[in-house]
């Protein structure tokens, strides 16, 4: 069987992947998961803190002066 045929069969799940390939795949998935988790977490936390702490008043900005 050529490497290409082997790849096609793996793609179609017709051939069980080797242990090394499974490990590599899982490691890759974990990396991807962590990367996207950190990204989404950063965005959501910033949004959450923004809505808690920001001044959401619709009043026009007033620059304080003493007189």
């Amino acid at each position: 069987m050529s490497v290409r045929q082997s790849t096609d069969l793996q793609k179609n799940n017709a051939l069980p992947e080797s242990a090394e390939a499974a490990q590599a795949r899982k490691a890759h998935e974990r990396r991807e998961f962590r990367k996207w988790l950190l990204l989404f977490l950063a965005v959501l936390m910033v949004l959450c803190l923004y809505f808690i702490l920001a001044d959401l008043s619709t009043a026009p900005r007033f620059v304080y002066s003493q007189f």
């Binding site: 790849t7 795949r25 998935e29 959501l44 009043a59 304080y64």
Partner: protein, 428 residues
């Protein structure tokens, strides 16, 4: 020959092996995991804020924060039989770190201050606030520091009022059964007029007016959702910021104790050592005079040297004898001030009005004559007498050295005298 990478879900791996790229699944799982973590974080913040709001905070009273001022419900929970309201404007932000400021004088005392004020917090805001707090006020005393600058011809600036407006306080005012409908209508009408610069807020005010002073119709769903959102936001916002303030203020107190050898640090240092006693106002006055003299450095207006160098020197020639274009004799602020006194009378709150002077040297320089100033002082006194309000009148101190920090804000000796008046009022 190297295998070609598949177009969809594989990538090249070591030794020619393929790694299915299930990025889409990982992304979706990551998103929902992040959502869960954020929800848990927010729940944690809510639990922290709710628990904190139920405890009395020593630092809360003297914490000067506009976020705090808008949160009347939280303020109510902090009131107890020893709390005195001290309401004012920008002067409360000046000399906070000195031992002469009321916040320092009341450090460690049985009676505690609840300070509310910054620039452009004037009679109308304070009337609404007191009405919002009154149902929970065990100690029925309130001090209002009135400044001449409130009484410009236009009254409070609409943009300033709108930026400081608290919808929560306004609704609580409308709910107060001890306030007459007539007073509520006056406050509402003035509020609607000043909120023309903020149409969205004004639209909600109209709904509350209809609910509490009109047909009783409930606000629309959008307004209710907004109210619920703001209630939660305010709770978390105030408590997180209070927590941060408590951390920084506890560090400052430690350094105050270390500086206890300095007589001017006595009040706070005594309090830190648990030695509560009546403040020695005589010593404080002497110390204030020394500090004021040192800070002013001999300028002819007896203002802080840094202020003199950065502002006075630059404008004094331009404004000599120019006169103030807007006087203090005619102003809608008088009606707002009268509303405050009337509201206190209706709610059986005992007010003390502190009448602060202007810097006589400076006002003479710019041509704002003393008769015009006296007219303002007289009108304020007359209104106080009409409603039987106690007065702490410092209008005769315009020329006292080191009473004022600049042209309009009290400083050093001024703070000692004002603090003593507040202390005596609180202790009665």
């Amino acid at each position: 020959m190297k295998p070609e990478s598949a177009k969809d879900n594989t990538s090249g791996g070591k030794d020619g092996q393929t790694i299915p790229r299930r990025t889409g699944t990982a992304r979706i799982r990551a998103f929902f995991t992040a959502l869960l973590i954020t929800a848990a974080f927010f729940a944690g913040v809510h639990i922290y804020a709710s628990a904190k709001a139920e405890k009395k905070s020593d630092a809360y009273g003297c914490w000067t924060s506009e976020v705090k001022y808008k949160a009347g419900r939280i303020m109510r929970d902090q009131l107890d039989k020893n709390t005195i309201l001290l309401l004012g404007s920008s002067e409360l932000q000046h000399q906070k770190s000195t031992p002469y400021h009321p916040g320092s004088i009341f450090e460690g005392q049985d009676k505690k201050l609840l300070l509310v004020g910054a620039g452009y917090y004037q009679s109308l805001f304070h009337t609404t606030l007191v009405a919002a707090l009154e149902p929970e006020m065990v100690n029925r005393k309130a001090v209002l520091i009135v400044a001449p600058q409130w009484f410009r011809k236009s009254g409070v600036k609409a943009e300033a009022f709108a930026s400081r407006f608290s919808e929560e306080n306004f609704v609580e005012m409308l709910k107060n059964p001890d306030l007459s409908d007539e007073t509520k209508r006056y406050i509402t009408d003035r509020t609607k007029k000043l909120l023309k610069v903020d149409p969205k807020e004004r639209a909600r005010i109209l709904q509350y007016e209809e609910q509490y002073l009109g047909s009783g119709r409930e606000p629309d769903r959008g307004t209710k959702v907004f109210q619920a959102f703001m209630e939660e936001k305010t709770l978390c916002n105030v408590m997180l910021r209070l927590g941060a303030y408590e951390l920084t203020s506890s560090r400052k107190k430690e350094s105050t104790v270390q500086a206890a050898d300095n007589p001017s640090q006595t009040c706070a240092a005594l309090a830190q050592r648990g030695e509560i006693s009546e403040p020695d106002f005589g010593s404080l006055r002497a110390s204030a005079a020394r500090d004021g003299e040192e800070a002013c450095g001999g300028n002819p207006f007896f203002v802080k040297k840094s202020y003199y160098d950065s502002y006075i020197v630059k404008v004094m020639d331009q404004v000599k004898d120019e006169g103030i274009k807007t006087g203090y004799s005619v102003s809608p602020e008088y009606d707002d001030f009268e509303c405050f006194l009337k509201a206190c009378s209706e709610m059986e709150i005992e007010p003390m009005v502190v009448i602060t002077p202007v810097n006589g040297y400076w006002y003479d320089w710019i041509g704002f004559d003393s008769d015009a100033r006296e007219d303002y002082y007289s009108q304020v006194r007359a209104l106080c007498e009409k409603y039987g309000a106690r007065i702490a009148d410092f209008s005769d101190r315009e020329y006292e050295e080191y009473f004022m920090e600049d042209t309009i804000h009290i400083g050093w000796k001024g703070w000692v005298d004002v603090s003593e008046a507040v202390y005596r009022f609180a202790e009665e």
